[in-house]
Amino acid sequence: GESVGLHLPTLSVQEGDNSIINCAYSNSASDYFIWYKQESGKGPQFIIDIRSNMDKRQGQRVTVLLNKTVKHLSLQIAATQPGDSAVYFCAESYGGYQKVTFGIGTKLQVIP
């Protein structure tokens, strides 16, 4: 399944299916992007990052795709598991600043 939108959307996927979570970022000068996962009652947890000189990066069961032309970022989760249920945030930053701007999250619900 896929999700788009700027308000906290909910994406429901069947266990075992692939998930795609989308994010539109705002600053064309951003050069570093991060995906975070936030479980209920916990703080955000780093999943994967990508720099602007790349368009794809793979981790364990996760892939991040970056399209700078349309300022779009996506997180693909392969073989989604119940433990993947959480709110997912994309974040962007630029230059040498510490400021990170978070996007509006997407809630992923995995149906067993």
Binding site: Y32, G43, S93, Q98, I104
Partner: protein, 113 residues
């Protein structure tokens, strides 16, 4: 071992009171942050310190005052609490800045009565 720990986890208080939230990280990071997360899950940076020096100070009322006694600690003091301050406050740390991956605490849920 908890990498970034915040206390208290829950804070319920009356409007007008002054309260503090403490944060400690044992990762040896040089940069620490405070974020506010509202009821719609929107996460916004408030402050950032690098080696005890204030780097980022977003448009935050001056009722909020961060204090960093050393690079492992960043506390947040809030004066004259208002209803709109109700939120979850997260502390985070990273080694270096530039938005590099941050480690977050589990948050302090502040409720103003």
């Amino acid at each position: 071992d908890t990498a970034v720990s915040q206390t208290p986890k829950y804070l319920v208080t009356q409007m007008g009171n002054d309260k503090s939230i403490k944060c400690e990280q044992n990762l040896g990071h040089d940069t620490m942050y405070w974020y506010k997360q509202d009821s719609k899950k929107f996460l916004k940076i408030m402050f950032s310190y690098n080696n005890k020096e204030l780097i980022i100070n977003e448009t935050v009322p001056n009722r909020f005052s961060p204090k960093s006694p050393d690079k492992a600690h960043l506390n947040l003091h809030i004066n004259s609490l208002e209803l709109g301050d109700s939120a979850v406050y997260f502390c985070a740390s990273s080694q270096g800045g530039g938005g590099i991956a941050q480690h977050f605490g589990d948050g302090t849920r502040l409720s103003i009565l």
